[in-house]
């Protein structure tokens, strides 16, 4: 049963979640989603996903905070995280990289298929 790859998407924009969910389910991934950091952490602990797609501009607490918080939980702190955001300011980007994100992608530059390809390629490594 461990064959399915689990992906956690932390993103507040429902329609985007739905879109990525469609794409990743289609490709055979098991997809979970959370609209904020708290829910994201809870799901991460519960489901232990293989990869987390993290939005940076979130309503209450931004994705950078999530990156800091997840470090406190050894059981999930090693899950690879790819940031997907439309916010591309150098400071935020470098902060995210310093906090250990594997990639920082700009949403508009990627179609869901392209994002899927990136994720697949990453997981193959």
């Amino acid at each position: 049963m461990k064959n399915t790859t689990k992906i956690l998407i932390i993103e507040d924009e429902e329609i985007l979640v739905e879109m990525y969910q469609d794409k990743f389910s289609e490709a055979g991934f098991e997809v979970f989603s959370a609209p904020n950091n708290d829910e994201g952490l809870r799901l991460a602990k519960k489901e232990k996903p293989d990869l987390i797609l993290l939005d940076i501009l979130l309503p209450d607490e931004n994705g950078i905070q999530f990156l800091k918080r997840i470090k406190q939980f050894p059981e999930i702190s090693r899950i690879p995280i790819i940031a997907i955001s439309n916010y591309d300011e150098i400071e935020t980007k470098s902060e995210a990289y310093n906090l250990g994100v594997k990639l920082y992608l700009i949403k508009t530059q990627f179609t869901p298929q392209e994002l899927l390809d990136v994720v697949k390629k990453y997981l193959e490594k």
């Binding site: 924009e13 879109m19 794409k23 289609e26 150098i90 980007k93 530059q109 179609t111 298929q113």
Partner: protein, 370 residues
């Protein structure tokens, strides 16, 4: 006429000069290089002083002479010498009058000029201060503008990623295979969203450049490869307008350039995109070659062309060639401004050449090798 001259004299304060305020009153403080504080002549040029010295010499000379000859100084000698001195004084007065007056006028004028300069300086200072304040205000406003553009562009990106994402998935058949006819339309929507994203990226880049927040990640790149991939991407656009877009990869490969691939790619795409938009029929030729120590890329079109003024203006933000207005072609005219800024970050150059309206134009980009 005479009256006014007199008045003038009074105004000039000549009596003051010759009277108690003259240097002679304090004549012991004399030094030949100093200037008389009243008529501004150096003392060694002071005619009044010359007169005094000459008079003194005359008196001493004649008195000594008569004393040597006669053993005494006769009254006649005394009277004649003093008469001589007085006569000399009279003529001296006549001849120096004009000089002194002119000199005095000059001094007054100088003073007036100085005073005027001072008030002028004061006014200039005040105005400079005002301008500086206005400039500071403007800078704050400009920063606010850039920040606003930055925020707005980020906001715009979210719905756009939804549009682009869903359209691409529909085209890929994630929601059932679309009929052939619909595929073409979906592609049209997809291309439009791509263009909109490009415009927003331009806007974001401008705000970044203006806020000094641009990041450059350089790596060695084969420029012709970058052009090739941009060429493939834009070929479809050109074909839609029935414009022939050509590119011949140079053989053997050119030396590499150290560039931020994403940024230079954007410049290349912008140039080709512009050429397609501003050309109604004909062809667009892409060329890349090594010229001395630089790699030169050019985009030559048979479009509207540019006037000499436009060739310069076109690289400033929010300006477009007049063709843009004639044909009502979309685009905010930001691409070239961004391109220029990006090339500055690479110690490169961008410029446009055109023989005039209706004669097409060529855009050149130069990047240093290595």
């Amino acid at each position: 006429m005479e009256k006014t001259e007199k008045n003038q004299r009074k105004e000039l304060g000549r009596p003051e000069y010759l009277n108690k305020n003259c240097w002679l009153v304090k004549n012991l403080n004399y030094a030949p290089y100093k200037r008389c504080q009243y008529c501004d002549l150096k003392f060694r040029n002071c005619l009044f002083l010359h007169y005094q010295i000459i008079s003194l010499i005359l008196i001493i000379f004649f008195f000594t002479l008569s004393f040597l000859i006669d053993g005494r100084i006769p009254e006649l000698v005394i009277i004649s010498v003093f008469t001589l001195v007085i006569f000399y004084g009279y003529f001296f007065n006549k001849s120096t009058d004009k000089i002194i007056q002119a000199n005095f006028t000059e001094r007054k004028a100088k003073e007036a000029l100085e005073e005027f300069n001072e008030t002028l300086q004061q006014k200039v200072d005040e105005q400079t201060e005002e301008i500086r304040k206005a400039y500071d205000d403007l800078k704050v406003l400009d920063k606010a503008k850039s920040e606003f553009i930055s925020m707005a562009s980020h906001q715009l990106r979210t719905p756009l990623s939804v549009i682009k994402g869903y359209i691409s998935m529909m085209m890929e058949g994630s929601y059932g295979n679309p009929p052939q006819k619909m595929k073409g339309k979906l592609n049209g929507v997809f291309q439009s969203s791509e263009r909109l994203i490009r415009i927003i990226n331009d806007l974001l880049n401008i705000s970044k450049v203006e806020l000094g927040k641009i990041e450059v990640n350089k790596s060695p790149v084969q420029l012709e490869e970058l052009i090739q991939s941009s060429f493939e991407e834009m070929k479809i656009e050109a074909e839609k307008k029935k414009i022939k877009l050509t590119f011949e990869k140079p053989k053997p490969p050119l030396p590499q350039v150290n560039i931020d691939q994403l940024k230079i790619r954007q410049v290349i795409l912008n140039l080709i995109d512009n050429a397609i938009r501003y050309t109604q029929k004909g062809k667009i030729e892409l060329k890349v070659e090594k010229v001395n120590s630089v790699i030169r890329f050019s985009v030559k079109d048979t479009g509207e062309g540019l006037t000499e003024k436009e060739q310069k203006d076109i690289f400033t933000g929010f300006v477009r060639g007049s063709a843009g207005i004639n044909y009502f072609i979309e685009g905010a005219g930001l691409g070239l401004y961004v391109a220029k800024k990006f090339l500055e970050l690479h110690q490169g150059k961008i410029w446009a050449v055109s023989e005039g309206k209706g004669k097409g134009s060529t855009f050149f980009v130069e990047l240093p090798i290595g």
